[in-house]
Amino acid sequence: MARKITYQQAINEALDQEMSRDPSVIIMGEDVAGGEGSPGENDAWGGVLGVTKGLYAKHPGRVLDTPISESGYVGAAVGAACNGLRPVAELMFIDFMGVCFDQIFNQAAKFKYMFGGKAKTPVVIRAMYGAGFRAAAQHSQCLYNVFTHIPGLKVVIPSNPYDAKGLLIQSIRDNDPVIFLEHKALYTMEGDVPAESYIVPFGEAAVVQEGDDVTIVAMGRMVHYAKEAAGNLRKKGIQCEIIDPRTTSPLDTDTILESVERTGRLVVVDESNPRCSMASDISSFVAQEAFGALKAPIQMVTAPHVPVPFAASLEDLYIPSPARIEEAVMKVKEYR
């Protein structure tokens, strides 16, 4: 039975259902309960934005507040995964990977290969990402491209409540390390979500809307900006096909290539910085695999190569906008 809940509620529900189903699932992170050892409420926050609120009481002993010590507890989650648990560690802001990256990319990501296939590290690292909250350079980055670069990691970036729930359940059940990234601007987004448990498989892009003129690949919050742009373009008689990869590792290249081979035109929309980004990566493989089908040079719509600025006037300029997406689509459509 589907009913409308928010992206945030969908994530909470996925965690709750998986913790009920499987006693090896635990949650840890800074203030995931909020209040451990304090004189007041022990579940005061339920995560800094309340995403894990209520789980502490429902799953006693399995929702663990940690010190502000990201290497310590992210590494502990990785170690616990090696010893039979399915930990979900919350890193709060993805920017904090800077203080624990070793435990993710040198440890978790490498064990399976480096140990000759004999390790299993079913850990999930959740974090919020993305600009738009005037949170400036150290609390606003995307960074999914950084993780996507690392063999051994899987990277998930749901753009809506339905995908958030199904992809998180898949992440927890998955036997490889998963980086699960939640866009801050999407937490309050409502959508139809089944009450029962379900999975959305990795490596299967969603065709958000069909169209024969231009392919737009967009991810995370940018899916919604692409839809807005496509709505305006439809009035001009241009039909856009929008593809949401949903996971950047594994990446569903087939769906993207099939679409580009039909439309001959590609715009990639990515909120992160442009160099070595998902946008440049997708552009690159399409140029290699479908060059003959292209009727126009590929366009990338990304943030500029600068840190995320604080002032509203600058941050609004930083984030790719529906208007910029429209411009890029017009450019590929009008080329020759």
Binding site: G72, G75, G79, C82
Partner: protein, 324 residues
């Protein structure tokens, strides 16, 4: 004082230490020929530490190790024949030739890996211990690290986390005096690494790493406390390595004759043999029988490693993910 160990345990202790020593001496010789690929960091001289600690552990206890991990692996029960093949980069190695000396791991026997990252193991071992604790088991985790790693934030974070979560972890600082080429008297801001324990609310214990029995006893207490829910301990084992940071290190930073003197006066195998034979707990014949048995095993492991196949091309793409 009589030894707390029976004959069987004494034989096992000596066999383990002798296996580590011969393994390392042999790798030292073979590395010099240029046949062994990559980097190796030898544990020779430190055998009493890994052995005295791991003799208290069972298969369900985990250890996390270091660059200098061969000794920890052997003491925890990883097959030396597979290890030798791994060091030679062969398909028959512990990690199918894809890890090498710095990444030997065998989760089946609770060996969470030698680690190419200094201080990498601290947080990981907190995790294995947390899993045991949550499941209500009494298994422990031991994190071996060096004086170099003793200055890493990961180790501080791990000690704090282990203490606030009351995890059954023993942090073993193997202080061999040098982090690569830099003396611990320069790089560690306190006199003893164990002095840092109080900052994390746990006992700090210093032990002579040349004395197997001292290590065995100190580790026994810390591990017993951890198993009984008493929380973590920081155990500083003061010892020395007989070879360089890595093979090829000319060690010009060391005092002339430093290693030779240690070998002649403090060597852990020598002290062990002297003690158990002088007390009549083992005979020289017992010792020599183990020496012969281990030598043959190590020799055979090298013959096998040399003739074993290299990983086939298809192994390049295998085992990145469980499913992808």
């Amino acid at each position: 004082m009589t030894s707390p160990l029976n004959r069987e345990a004494l034989l096992q202790a000596y066999r383990t230490m002798r296996t580590i020593r011969d393994f390392e001496e042999r790798v030292h010789v073979d590395f010099a020929t240029g046949e062994i690929p990559g980097f190796v960091h030898l544990y020779a001289g430190e055998e009493a530490s890994a052995t005295g600690i791991c003799m208290h552990l069972n298969r369900n206890d985990y250890i996390a190790s270091t660059h200098r991990g061969h000794g920890h692996c052997i003491a925890k029960g990883v097959d030396p024949v597979g290890m030798m093949a791994e060091i030679w980069g062969k398909a028959t190695g512990t990690c199918k030739g894809k890890g090498g000396s710095m990444h030997i791991a065998d989760l089946e026997v609770g060996m969470l890996g030698a680690n190419g990252i200094v201080g990498g193991g601290g947080p990981l071992i907190c995790g294995t211990a947390l899993a045991s604790k949550i499941r209500g088991e009494n298994n422990v985790g031991v994190c071996f690290f060096g004086d170099g790693a003793s200055n890493q934030g990961t180790i501080f974070e791990a000690m704090n986390l282990a203490s606030v979560w009351k995890l059954p972890v023993i942090f073993v600082a193997e202080n061999n005096g040098y982090a690569e080429a830099t003396s611990s008297t320069f790089s560690v801001a306190v006199e003893n690494i164990a002095d840092r324990a109080s900052a994390f609310g746990m006992p700090g214990v210093i032990v002579d790493g040349f004395d197997f029995f001292a290590v065995y006893e100190a580790a026994g207490e810390a591990i017993k406390r951890a198993r009984e829910g008493g929380g973590p301990t920081l155990l500083e084992v003061k010892l020395s390595r007989y070879y360089g940071h890595f093979e090829g290190d000319q060690q010009t930073y060391r005092a002339p004759g430093e290693v030779q003197k240690l070998r002649e006066t403090k060597d852990c195998l020598m002290q062990f043999a002297k003690r158990v034979t002088s007390r009549g707990e083992l005979t020289m014949a017992d010792i020599e029988a183990i020496d012969r048995e281990v030598k043959t095993m190590i020799d055979d492991s090298v013959v096998k490693a040399k003739s074993d196949p290299l990983p086939p091309p298809e192994a390049l793409m295998a085992d990145v993910y469980i499913s992808y």
